[in-house]
Amino acid sequence: MSSKRALIMHASDNVATAVEEIQTGEDVAVPAGGAVLTLRAIEPIPFGFKIALQDLPRGEIIRKYGETIGKASAPIAKGALVHIHNLEGTRARGDLERGSER
C-alpha cells in the first residue's frame, strides 16, 4: 500500500502537516530535502493537521516553518496528532500573566 503524504516547511521542523487524510497505522512519507522520512501514524491525522516526527517530551519546543509555534503541553509520541490538546502557544498569554502557569 502506498504511504500517505505530510510536508515539513523547514529542515529543523519536528512536526509535519498532513496533506491527505491519514488513518491509524498508515505509513507516512515526508519529503525532506532529497530524502524521504517515513514514520507510522499512531492515530488519525486529518488533512491539514500536524503529526509528530519524533517523541516530544512535555515542555519541548515545537517547530514548524523553522520557527517556534509553541511547546508540548503533554508528552507527544512519534506519529501522534499534534494540536491544541498537546501543544500550547507561548505568546500573548494573558492567562499566564496572572500567575496561573501550569
Partner: protein, 395 residues
C-alpha cells in the same frame, strides 16, 4: 509586464473608473441608487462623538478613497453627523482630494435647498460626472502602477503551505517591478515579528515593526485571557492551526521575501513604492477599506476555509472601489464555492504545481483583473458595511 489602466491627473493608474459619493448617508445612497457607475461607502463611522485622532482617521479613509486611482471624480456632501468637526468638513475633504487633480463637487443642503435639493443637484452632477468619466480610455501602463493589498482569513494549514506562498510570489513580483504591496494584521504577526524585522530596510523600520507587536501583545495580555480563546479563531483551530504563533508564521508567507520599506497606519498612503506592513486589524470589513484608502487598486482575500462547512457563496465588497479577489488553496473550499473563487492554488498541495508556478498564475489573474476582467465578487450587487479601524473611546 503591464496592464490596461485609467491614467489619472496625478500620474497614478486606476483599474476601475467610478464616481465616488462620500461620506455615507441618505444623500450619497440616493445618488448611487439612481445613477449607474457610482459608489459610496456604507458605514456607521461618521465621526460624531469621536476623538480628534479617530476623526482624522475617518478623514484619512474618506480622502484616501477619493484619491484612489480607481475613482475618476468625487461628490462630497456636507450632511454627515460628523461634518461640523474641522477634520471632517466637506470643504476640507474636497480640497485634499482635489489636490490630486481630479474633479470634486460639493453638495451642501444649507445652500442647495435642503436635503431634497442636495439630492436632486447631486443626481444631476453625478450623471454628468459618470458621463465625463466614461470618456477615459484604458491604456497600457507598467506594473509599477499596481498597488495590492491582502488579508488571509478563515486560515487553515493550507493557507500557510500553499495559499499564502502563492500570494508571496505575487508580492515579490510586483515589488520587483516597482509596484506597491501592502500586508498587515498586527495580531497575526505575533510570533513571526523577528522574521519580519530582519527584512526591514532600516533599523528604525525594524523597531517600528517590533514596537507595533509589543503594543498589541501587551493589549492582549491586559485582558487576562489565553489569546487562543480569541485568536486563532475557531475556524483556524478546526482547520488544524494550533497556536497564534503557527498562524502568524503561516500568515507572513503572503508578504513574500522583499525588503519591508516601512510601517503604515490604517489608511495611510505610502510615500514611495515597495512592500509595506500596515499596523491594522484583521477584520475584512475593516482592513480592505484601509488598503484601498492607502491607494490599493486591486485587493485579495486568501481564504483557508477548512474550518467552515457549507459555504457555497462567497460574498464581498469590502473594498468600495477596488476589485476584490477570492483566493484559496483548500480543495474543499474550492469545490464548495468554485463560482465565487478567482484563484485556486491547492495544486501546490496536490503536487501538480510549484508555489512559483501557482504564484505566476495568480500574477496573471491580477493583471487581467487590473485590466478590466471582473473579480467574481464584482458580479454581485451586495454591499457590505465598512468598519473603520478606530481605537479610541467614544464620548
Amino acid at each position: 509586464m503591464s496592464f490596461l489602466g485609467y491614467v489619472r491627473p496625478d500620474g497614478s493608474a486606476g483599474t476601475r473608473n467610478y464616481v465616488l459619493v462620500i461620506p455615507q448617508g441618505i444623500i450619497a445612497k440616493s445618488i448611487c441608487d439612481f445613477v449607474a457607475g457610482t459608489k459610496t461607502i456604507l458605514t456607521v463611522d461618521h465621526g460624531s462623538g469621536r476623538t480628534a485622532n479617530d476623526r482624522e482617521q475617518i478623514a484619512r479613509v474618506l480622502i484616501g478613497l477619493g484619491k484612489n486611482p480607481n475613482v475618476a471624480s468625487v461628490l462630497v456632501h456636507a450632511a454627515s453627523p460628523g461634518v461640523g468637526y474641522p477634520e471632517l468638513r466637506a470643504e476640507r475633504l474636497a480640497d485634499e482630494i482635489a489636490a490630486s487633480g481630479k474633479r470634486v463637487e460639493v453638495l451642501d443642503p444649507a445652500k442647495d435647498g435642503g436635503t431634497y435639493g442636495a439630492i436632486v443637484r447631486g443626481l444631476q452632477l453625478a450623471r454628468n460626472m459618470v458621463y465625463e468619466a466614461s470618456k477615459a480610455r484604458r491604456v497600457e501602463v507598467g506594473d509599477e502602477q499596481l498597488c495590492v493589498g491582502v488579508k488571509c482569513g478563515y486560515s487553515d494549514t493550507t493557507s500557510g503551505i500553499a495559499g499564502n506562498p502563492a500570494v508571496g510570489y505575487l508580492y515579490d513580483r510586483i515589488v520587483a517591478a516597482g509596484g506597491t504591496a501592502l500586508f498587515g494584521e498586527t495580531t497575526e504577526i505575533i510570533g513571526a515579528e523577528q522574521a519580519l524585522a530582519r527584512r526591514a530596510v532600516s533599523p528604525a523600520v525594524a523597531e517600528t515593526i517590533l514596537g507595533a507587536v509589543t503594543i498589541q501583545e501587551e493589549r492582549a495580555k491586559a485582558t487576562g485571557l489565553d489569546i487562543r480563546t480569541v485568536n486563532p479563531v475557531p475556524s483556524n483551530i478546526k482547520g488544524g492551526i494550533s497556536s497564534l504563533e503557527e498562524k502568524s508564521l503561516g500568515a507572513i508567507h503572503k508578504a513574500g521575501t522583499a525588503p519591508i520599506e516601512g510601517v503604515l497606519r490604517y489608511a495611510e498612503r505610502p510615500t514611495r513604492n515597495g512592500l509595506y506592513f500596515v499596523d491594522n486589524w484583521m477584520g475584512h470589513l475593516s482592513i480592505f477599506a484601509g488598503y484601498v484608502a492607502a491607494g490599493a487598486n486591486v485587493v485579495m482575500f486568501q481564504l483557508g476555509g477548512g474550518g467552515v462547512a457549507g459555504r457555497t457563496l462567497l460574498e464581498g465588497s469590502p473594498s468600495v472601489v477596488a476589485p476584490f479577489l477570492w483566493c484559496t488553496a483548500n480543495p474543499k473550499t474550492y469545490a464548495a464555492a468554485q463560482d465565487s473563487i478567482d484563484f485556486y492554488s491547492g495544486t501546490v498541495i496536490e503536487g501538480s504545481e510549484t508555489p512559483e508556478e501557482a504564484g505566476e498564475r495568480l500574477y496573471r489573474t491580477v493583471i487581467e483583473t487590473a485590466s478590466g476582467t471582473l473579480a467574481r465578487s464584482e458580479t454581485l450587487s451586495y454591499t457590505e458595511p465598512i468598519d473603520m479601524y478606530l481605537q479610541e473611546p467614544r464620548f
